[in-house]
Assembly symmetry: D4
Homo-oligomer: 253 residues x 8
């Protein structure tokens, strides 16, 4: 949707030729900016309620910088760079700064980092991010950074694995009171089943690639969560803290 | 929690010795009835917001009947029997009828059936159940029967597979307006990705075991949905229409 | 080890030419009876502390009968037929009866049965067999039948799945007091992890083929149990109630 | 086919003793040059319509140079070196230059490179190479380099993933008008299904190893593409941009 | 696209308000008939050059009949029912006959059948369907039935497996002269590699579920074909003779 | 190779125009009879030293009969029908009988049978077929029937599984004296490793689909045998007693 | 359980208000220290008979140090750091030393190390750790270090693989006399089956990631051990020497 | 078997108390040297006809040296070090040299090396090692080095992949004349099937980890070879050139 098309549409709304509702619907489906190597989707927030996030791996540092700059060039909501290495973070911060956006906040999660510009204003909703072990903190960190960008100040409850189930029962009231719970667990991935039995809130399970023995880089936890005997638990991909945060944003919108 | 313990607790609430909030909390954690072969969880609805559902496979018809009768013996919410064969349905309807509950509603989904007693009163919330093909209707049927038991009159949008993406775009406005969308798809499992791009509502993806070529009884669709490039989609197990319905109930409670 | 060899050995023990300890050691390694289609191992009990069990699948009914008869023809401990279909059970009971052993006890476990002759005398040791759900009872039944043959009166604790963890906590004291615990679970296989955190006793986990969604006929529970975050849990093969019972016999000998 | 045999054959054609058609048929089946470590197939182009391509991995830099030189020593069509590292590229360029072929064109695709000598003359046929995301550009780059060697100037349409399906619909007319479409996608690999529904042209799907969550290094996209509900889509191996280009050359010959 | 919309569009074309090209483009994207359980895509042939095929498994016999009747109710090209069991075939023939289409031609392929109505007029193009063994004939039969519906009289070359490679070399000239070759093979799936080395034509490989040892119901052949050392071979799903035929139709249109 | 070509070749040998060695070489590469659905390879025995075996599954009873008759119509060595069901056996015996070959010998192996016509004359070479358990006898039976057809009277050593390793040590001298050993084992597939350590003879390992727990229908035994720590063991596919027999025939020719 | 709660409980025991048994039971379920990133479980030894072990991978060196220090701050049994890299070892030794515990003993096992503080007093029980090959020594080393921490002086029997089964028979008497046997094996994982046939003691099998051919990083050995034809063998995860030691501690407590 | 036992045995043979045949049999089963970390099997050659080979990975350089020295300390046949890195090669050469064996011959195969001491005298038997591509040469190199140690001068036929099947047919007479053929192939692993159809000799197939697309590090080639439609082919593990050479030695002994 180029400039002139946009202007024409707005003119037609102004003149009454187009109903505002129709204009919104059309805007939801169309616009993106073609950078050659990427088609930047400026209206994703409007359509999905989620920002366009730039996923670092497989992109050059320059491409990361250019896409971030393009996204910030339009007014709008939060902009995210995820799983970025140090070069990508630097390039993106520089490109954003050159465009007048020097408010990028970097969260290091394991060997990768998430960067957030223009975070959304604070939103209501009590979100818990529960981890089975200390080694799941990187995934939980990514998840909380993205939730923060979306306006949620998520609470962390770390190291509640089922081998010491009393550590989880100690927060049973918090679980029951939550609006949404994200549970990150590796190894046998049992924690979401137990959590799902303790709360009526939506539970988004994130299998992590931690564990050994037969953990298979997270496959075991993934399969276990999908086979959970606790009803109504949903699952995202391995180590996908970003996806879990977006799922929460969808259900608490 | 035996009778006397329960009476004592209620006495203490009556006398002010126990705060009502404390009583609720204790009741959430404790009670079940031990039938020898099953421990019937009478307070699951209180704790999880979901009814105890009796999963047919692996149980004798008599066991199904006995558990259903036990669940209906206590006042409470909806009672469900899922994936039941004809003998199990008969036994359960008979046992329930003998206990004065002859309102069981049977929904046939493929070669199995779901039975619902004491459905919840109607609840607000626009839920769409979208299927990729006609062969996914059995899974969608189970999902809608369970949603019905939980009080939701879910709308069916059948046969919208991505090979004819215009069939999906025709309901784009409905998708955008929904409070929750369940998407059932086999084959390559691509439909949730496209739906996720068209709505800001929560999307619960259900991989189905339909398809051929390399569909691997639903594994391919499952993996595809977990790897979706659309943000914030969550996934339940293969053919798990029941689980998807419960997930919706959690997020629309 | 034919008759003459055996006599010679015993003569030598009698005459003092061979030390009794040496005789035991030799007897532990050698004897079996060659039926042509099977080599019946008469001294397995001596060597392993376990009876020779006849595994039904893949054998004809006549072969089952002949092997059972051969085993009963020698004095000794318990004789077992496992996973037998109805024809195999009949043939084995008949062959045993013809040989003067009409004390075979049949335990039906799902569509298969276990038969026990000459059960061992009662042995000390408190063994718990815990199941996650009602559908795991067939596996638990096989396990308890074999434990019974070996002299252990194992206690059944059914339907304690982690989605209602309070059902398990209700037997926490029994778990802590047990000498050995067998835990049978399908679906996500999380129960052994929680049990392992509640007792210092040996925990033998048996994955079962129950479940759906992504349970993969028990593979998911198997992998989960092998990846358990609870220390010191050991695992046997899928649906292998027989193996779990034998493992208990090894550790309580 | 040694020199003398070849001369004799041509003599016989010249004298009319052998029909030219027969000569072509015989030449299609026979000749190669044995370098000891490789049997260079000089007539592959004649037989398959495709050049002999030297696949870098597992070969020494010297072997790459020697094979390229041997191929260029005979008159003929395009010569390709694929997935070469820097040392292999250098050695091959040097060996080719020494043989009077200093027209090698290097295309970097990710950390590897393709080199083309003696590209084919331009051929008719509108070929589109569509990618789901920016991270698929390396595969698309290899594909376009090979297509270029074969005479096709393929058009790139980048970053059209199904989560923003409007980006794809924007090029629907181009898709409908194409003679062949190559679609490279990782993650859930859904793009070829949607493309296949929008065009009657041949669609060659290339799964890529990009993605996370449950993308399994391209296995998920591969399985999804093979299970596509869009009819008549064909698939090549993971990241095999080279193979996709060759497939296009076969169908547009 | 309902009746009135269609009429309006045609009126506009008639009046010159809409260019015919634009009308075609719009018609390509929109129309389907909603039967409740299926959305019948009447313009698929226009858009993809392929007929709507009704895939039997997972549909009731009545659904099959209703969809076939709906498809035949509109003028157009070939209509297909695939992998149908006897009841589905009967219901579809009856429904079609009731609608005045009693020209359904049934081709039995293994235990399933394909039915074709309104086959396309004969088209040019020499298509070979090559099988590795006699057990691959069911897949080849489905493929040839669909090719026949699309206007191609494909030639069958049966039982050319690589263990007797001279049987294949005997048809080398036919392979070289073909416009397209479909190769169906189970076991190790090696045949397409050899065929690909003998012809410059497009080769569509169909792995079949025949074989034993480690054939894994076609997975081995599938993986082998995708890893072929012969360049430019493309692959469809296991036993997908239908898909291979459609792929040929795309490339010979 | 039609009749006239064959006659011409033999004439040329008779006249001295073709050397007998050259004739043999040409005959090795060419002849087969095309039945339409099968290309019967009459000279396979000459080329591979093995008979053409007709594999039952996937062929109709009539096809089995026709191929067997065609093979017996030419003078030559043994003819085999393998994994045939009862109808195929009947049809093949009838067709063979009609062609004057009523010497077919049927060996039942599990639910399938092997039939042998024109067995080869007895050959030297001591072959042992060792099985781990009674349930492996069906595979051993197929193997011994095929060995018999090829002229080897293989000795059976049944039920020597590694859990009672003394049963195997009892035949250690036989193993050391054998010319070739076939070892069939399911479950953990450990027997070939132990056998390989006790003999210098060639060991062909056949994984069988017997076992439970995590035997995965023979996959576990297959992987174990391929990873054997005993040097120089080779492996054939799961349950492939036929292939093992052929391998023995190759190495004892 | 904070300080005051603990004091109150002990006061109540002192005053007779709480029975000591009840106090023990309550203490078993409750206490942990929340470090923010970890919930340190001080009473695990009481509840499970096993120490809290700190698993290195995924934790920072500082986190390792802090958790070890926290564990040593309370009086109690052995404290373990496992699979630690050099930085983690250094940080943990330093933190422990600063807290007055400079008795940490480091055992290097492959590229990782185990550190033990406050080892348990020597316990009775003859434990054998048997390895199939020299490459399994790292896993055996971890296992013996943990057994040492738990008070067991385990005996090592190295390099007894089944390809030279006489090496194992040489220690048959030791096996028969053991109280527990740990067997570590990679490749085809056959050793536990043979060991299980030679002893009546509990056998804990540890698959290791050594081997090649089709060893699949230990998966093959794992599956083989779980499918063992020797009765009563139990299995832990791949390379999990720690888990095997804990299992031994459970059964010899 | 210690020195004195050995002397006694030989004395008894000398005196006629023990038959020489009995002595040989006893010697075959017993002796090894226990180095603590390894049990060196001095009589493996006598028992298996194969030398003790030291497999490098997982051993320290010192362990490699010590084992090689121990093996060379006894008179006997060839000694092998395989898959050794540079440090291991150095240590082994040094240890061997110090023991007076400075005739170690190093063969580099990819990034690893094989070292041979005391090669066996030349043996009869024409062995061909055929590779599909240049990248399979490392595996072929290991195989030929081991064959050389065993006395066989194997001939290399490189780069005969099935995509140019005429390259293989060019050596058809050599294949027919061979006593044994080793075939190393990656990618789709089709070469052994074609070779097996061209020769009656034993064919040992070695899948290699070369290839891309869906080659899965050799798994695809492995499965394909095990499913070969050519009869009597046997298979060893992935990249196991050593195993293939030992298999040849078994069958040509």
């Amino acid at each position: 949707m180029d400039q002139s098309t946009l202007r024409q549409l707005l003119d037609e709304v102004a003149s009454g030729a187009v109903e505002p509702d129709d204009a919104v619907r059309r805007l939801q489906r169309l616009p993106f900016a073609d950078l050659g190597f990427a088609r930047v989707d400026h209206h994703r927030a409007l359509r999905q309620g989620l920002p366009e996030a730039v996923y670092g791996p497989g992109k050059t540092a320059d491409q990361c910088g250019a896409i971030v700059a393009e996204l910030l060039a339009e007014p709008g909501g939060p902009v995210l760079l995820t799983r970025a290495d140090q070069d990508q973070v630097k390039a993106a911060l520089a490109a954003a700064g050159a465009a007048g956006h020097d408010d990028g906040v970097v969260t290091t999660a394991g060997s990768r980092a998430a960067v957030v510009w223009r975070p959304a204003p604070a939103r209501a909703g009590r979100v818990l991010v529960v981890t089975a072990g200390t080694a799941d903190l990187a995934v939980a960190g990514e998840c909380r950074a993205v939730l923060g960008a979306l306006g949620f100040a998520a609470e962390l409850v770390a190291d509640c694995g089922v081998a010491g189930v009393h550590r989880l029962l100690a927060v049973a009231d918090d679980l029951a009171a939550a609006d949404a719970v994200v549970v990150a667990a590796g190894f046998e991935g049992a924690l979401p089943s137990v959590v799902g039995g303790l709360t009526a809130a939506p539970v988004v399970a994130v299998p992590t690639s931690t564990g050994y023995g037969a953990a298979l880089e997270g496959i075991t936890a993934l399969l276990a969560m999908l086979s959970s005997c606790a009803s109504g638990i949903t699952v995202v991909g391995i180590d996908n803290g970003f996806g879990a945060a977006c799922a929460v944003a969808r259900l608490l919108r």
